[in-house]
């Protein structure tokens, strides 16, 4: 679908009603109504999530798993219940495949430190892409350097879409591992993760998918993707920072050695020998951030009640409205796909003659929060030939009016900078 004129496509969401659930959205910044367009960095939280967490502290807080008393049992039930909700959300074959961690970054590093160090050696090939966030790039780069493996980085075309030909060529090197983002946080590109996973499997590789930008914004189904690992962060999907998930196939997780050692992840400890607990606890050493995980459970409930497909559709409607408006601004360059195809509500752009930092600061004075910088995407920035971009990113609570405000603020910035 080519984007021509800005159109307010019907959104399936009752956005005003949703916004009422997010207390922060009615605040002002510098006397202006808040326009929060930094959702790819982190999302805001609905009252339902904030309250679910406070309720633990106010009503039945206790450490989980080992307590033989009511508060501990209640807290444990909510924590393990959150795991089931996450498993349902991503359609995991088994709940025990869902491992709670701090964020996508820790999840990806967990795979690197365990499966990676056990299976990748000198001469092996790891394939990744120039679209990756540093969190799905640097771990593999470092592992490759440490063990003498080769890192192959698949490029994008000038529209920001992955070079399928290069990916296919990379598979001929018979990699052990493919580390692939599902959605680019820098450009909004959706990669054809399912097809690429099939290709990678055919070449004998395992596939790690970085779902940090996909799981919050669309229905992601690990059975359908058929990937081997998936990592994502709760804080980008209405849940608190501190709630992250790494999912893996049980058969693989069971063969993996643990990552962190300590309380809760053991079966038995003797001075000379330790045996491990079952999945998922084998990978959850020490006291989990259980309130954050419970918050993630509440966030999943909220998202599921709204409907992941509807959220995706709403964001497409916003992009469909925003893209042509932005493309029409003189001196403005949009990085990444210029059509609605294979893209989500992340728009990176450059305003000629104004550095992204200055754009963001001027936006802030108008109450508009966007991100300016490299977005932890330096290889991508290098590919794009820039150090930084300005990035607006949408979520279920954003409105067409907020996009008007964004476009208006670009005008303000240009006037101020006389460009």
């Amino acid at each position: 679908m080519a984007v021509t004129a800005p159109q307010k496509t019907a959104t399936p969401l009752d956005v005003e009603r949703l916004r009422a659930d997010f207390p922060i959205l009615s605040r002002t910044v510098h006397g202006k109504a808040l326009v929060y367009l930094d959702n790819a960095a982190t999302s805001q939280k609905p009252r339902q999530v904030i309250d679910a967490m406070s309720a633990v502290y106010l009503e039945h807080n206790a450490n989980i798993h080992r307590g033989v008393y009511e508060f501990s049992e209640r807290t444990t039930a909510l924590f393990e219940g959150a795991r089931e909700k996450v498993a349902t959300l991503i359609n995991a074959p088994q709940t025990r495949e869902v491992i709670f961690c701090r964020n996508a970054t820790e999840g990806l590093n967990l795979i690197m430190h365990t499966w990676g160090r056990e299976h990748i050696g000198a001469g092996d090939v790891i394939v990744t892409t120039v679209l990756e966030h540093h969190s799905n790039f640097v771990p593999w780069q470092q592992l490759a350097q440490q063990v003498g493996a080769t890192l192959v980085v698949v490029d994008i075309d000038d529209d920001g879409r992955l070079r399928r030909d290069q990916f296919t060529a990379a598979m001929a090197k018979r990699p052990k591992l493919v580390a692939l983002t599902h959605t680019s946080n820098g450009l909004g590109t959706i990669t054809p993760a399912k097809a690429l996973t099939a290709e990678a499997h055919a070449a004998g590789a395992l596939v790690v998918i970085d779902g940090a930008q996909s799981v919050p914004h669309a229905a992601v189904d690990v059975r359908d993707l058929d990937c081997d690992f998936l990592a994502f962060s709760g804080h980008k999907m209405l849940a608190p920072p501190g709630s992250g998930v790494v999912w893996g196939r049980a058969a693989i997780l069971e063969q993996m050695r643990p990552f962190l050692y300590g309380g809760d992840m053991i079966s038995r400890v003797a001075v000379d020998l330790t045996t491990w607990n079952e999945l998922p606890w084998k990978f959850e050493a020490g006291t989990s951030a259980y309130v954050d995980a419970i918050g993630l459970g509440a966030a999943v409930d909220y998202l599921q009640a709204v409907g992941m497909d509807k959220i995706h559709e709403h964001e497409r409607a916003l992009v469909g409205y925003a893209l042509p408006k932005l493309l029409a601004v003189p001196g403005l360059t949009v990085f990444g796909p210029k059509t609605l195809e294979d893209r989500v509500g992340v728009i990176s752009f450059d305003v000629a003659g104004i550095h992204p930092h200055d754009v963001a600061q001027i936006f802030d004075s108008e109450g508009i929060c966007v991100r300016a910088g490299h977005h932890c995407n330096q290889p991508l920035m290098t590919r794009l030939g820039t150090a930084a971009t300005t990035r607006a990113s949408f979520y279920l609570y954003n409105t067409f009016a907020e996009i008007d405000a964004l476009v208006g603020a670009i005008d303000t910035a240009k006037k101020l900078f006389k460009v």
Binding site: H65, R66, G67, V68, E70, S72, E73, T76, A77, I266, S267, R268, A270, L273, T275, N277
Partner: protein, 133 residues
């Protein structure tokens, strides 16, 4: 609590049936409850007709886990291996007749887990063999 710690449970706890080891066991399995450190070893002596000739359990445990093991071992004597494998968790919980919270469920079911491990001829977890009593 009187409801919970009924007389017969306390009796089984204080004087567990079939407690001890079985020198001529044909099957043996050791399991632990990682949450509390309790351990149980289940010994089975299976006869030529695939029936349980004798059974014993050893280890440490709370009233719930010991009573559960005591009652369970009483029941399995004379049963065939297949009958034994068919025993389910609901049956074990019915034996106790009390409502258990998830943490205590693990106590109640530890003996069943060990019994099944033994009946299926499973190995101990790697490295545990040396330390099981």
């Amino acid at each position: 609590m009187d409801d919970f710690y009924r007389e017969f449970i306390l009796d089984h706890y204080k004087n567990p049936h079939n407690f001890g080891e079985l020198a001529d066991a044909t099957h043996r399995y050791h399991d632990t409850n990682p949450l509390c450190g309790d351990e149980i070893t289940m010994f089975l002596k299976i006869g030529a007709d695939d029936r349980v000739d004798d059974v014993r359990f050893s280890g440490t445990g709370c009233a719930i886990s010991v009573a559960s093991a005591s009652i369970l071992t009483d029941e399995v004597k004379g049963k065939t291996l297949d009958e034994l494998k068919a025993i389910d968790r609901d049956h074990v919980l019915e034996n106790l007749g009390i409502t258990l919270t998830p943490a205590r469920l693990k106590c109640a079911l530890l003996s069943l887990k060990a019994l099944k491990g033994s009946a299926w001829g499973l190995h101990e977890w790697p490295g545990e063999e040396a330390k099981s009593s």
